[in-house]
Structure formats: C-alpha cells, structure tokens
C-alpha cells in the first residue's frame, strides 16, 4: 500500500453552476445522469426477473406494477435514458478513437444525439403501447 501524506488538499472540480449552459456541457451532464438512472434501473430489472421465479401470482403483481401509471412513467423515462446513454456512448467511443473533437462536429453530433434519442424513444413507446393494445 502507498502511504501518501497530503500536504495540501487536492483540487476539486469546479461547481457546475458557474458555467453558462451550453449543449456540450448539458449533454455531458445528461450522460452521467442517465447512467445513474440506468444503474438504478438494474434494481427494477432484477425485481421483474426474480419475481418470475416466484410463480404466476408474484409475476402478475410485477407486471401490474410495471403497467401502473407510476410504472409506465418510470419505463418511459428509462426508454429515453437507454437510447440517450447508448447513442451518446457511441459518441464517446468515437472521441476515444480521436474522431469528432472539432467544435462544429461536437455540436452537430450533439444535435444528432437529441434527434436520435427523441425519435427512438417515441417509436419504441408507440410500439410498446400498440403491442399492449392500448394504442
């Protein structure tokens, strides 16, 4: 183990609110935010999957929870989060490969992410509601 004596406090990240809101910073914050939401959604996924091993009654309760207005709102939010984090994740991979760092490209791909996420979220929800016979 390394024993390090800290003589001076390490610098902290600057506070977000001192910056003017921009698409770049907004999308970056959204990536982390949707990441947290999706990490939490693994709890819901686990509940749903595990309930299926406790028989038809317990699973029917899980499906009722999912189709309640609260469950529907959560699932709508998760659909958005999935498509946002997925497409913006691809954008991050492109940056890691050294592509797309120019400011105009960053802005264009940023708007593409918003467009893609909105379109895929709407399409998926339309498909889900028509599959459930409520559309």
């Amino acid at each position: 183990m390394n024993e390090r004596k800290v003589s001076r406090p390490r610098p902290l990240s600057p506070h977000l609110q001192v910056y003017r809101p921009q698409i770049t910073s907004f999308l970056s914050i959204m990536h982390r935010f949707t990441g947290i939401i999706l990490a939490l959604s693994t709890l819901l996924f686990s509940y749903w999957l595990l309930s299926a091993t406790y028989g038809p009654e317990k699973f029917a309760i899980a499906q009722t929870v999912m189709s309640s207005w609260f469950g529907q709102s959560v699932l709508c939010g998760l659909t958005f989060s999935v498509f946002y984090h997925l497409s913006n994740g691809i954008r991050h991979l492109a940056w890691d490969a050294g592509w797309g760092f120019e400011l105009d490209r960053v802005k264009i791909t940023g708007w593409l992410i918003i467009l893609f996420t909105t379109a895929m979220t709407v399409l998926t929800l339309v498909a889900a509601y028509s599959a459930s016979g409520k559309g």
Partner: protein, 126 residues
C-alpha cells in the same frame, strides 16, 4: 525530465496502480452493450403485459438464455464501473469512498448472480 522509475514505466500502471484497466473495461463493456441493450429493449416491447408462461418461453427460446446471461453480467459490470467513477468524483473521505465502492460492487455482483440463477430456473424448470 522523466521522474518515473524504469520498473514503473514497464509496468505501465501509472499513479493509480491500476493502469488503464478500468477505462478499457468500461469501453469494452459499453461496446458489447450496444447490440445487447437494443435486443433487450426490443424484446421487452414484445413482453408488455405478458403472463408468466409467455415470459418463460421467451427466456428459454433458442439463444436467449445465453444472450440474457451475457447482458446481465456485462450490464451489472458496466453499471458498477460507472458508479465507481461517480463515487470517486464526489465522495472525498478515503474510508467512506472505499466503503461505498465496495458496497456498489457487492450489490452488482449479488444481483448479477441472482439474475443468472433466475434465467437458469426459468429456462430449465417446467
């Protein structure tokens, strides 16, 4: 001027003693999750309001148990890696930071194992 020892450079582990492993794991799991998540979301669309028998036959059909298993392991791993970075960014006390990371990883491993077991049971039990 390079202040690092020859051994340190050869090991390539940097100041964190972890090298690029965390960073690289997050990218690889992220890439794997692109097709897996799309598959999962589109599968869920077909399972809206489904009863247990429908879900069981979906879990057990063709390559689905393998795909589900992969998705579960990689998804929980990716989530734990991401939560770790967030904890490291915002939790500054050394003790509470290490404890939170261990708790996050423990929850991830526990749920991952439970979900795999659930997939096996749904596949092989009547």
């Amino acid at each position: 001027m390079n202040m690092r020892s020859h051994l340190g450079r050869v090991r390539g582990l940097g100041s964190t003693n972890d090298g690029v492993r965390h960073w690289w794991s997050q990218r690889l799991t992220g890439m794997a999750l692109i097709p897996l998540t799309l598959w999962l979301v589109f599968s869920f669309v077909g399972l809206v309001g489904a009863d247990l028998n429908t879900v069981k036959s979906w879990v057990g059909s063709h390559g689905n148990p393998v795909l589900l298993g992969l998705t579960i392991v990689i998804m929980f791993h990716h989530a734990a890696l991401g939560i770790q970075v967030i904890i490291e960014d915002y939790v500054h006390g050394e003790g509470i930071k290490t404890t939170s990371i261990i708790v996050a990883k423990a929850i991830s491993i526990l749920l991952s194992a439970s979900c795999i077991l659930a997939v096996l049971r749904l596949t092989f039990e009547g």
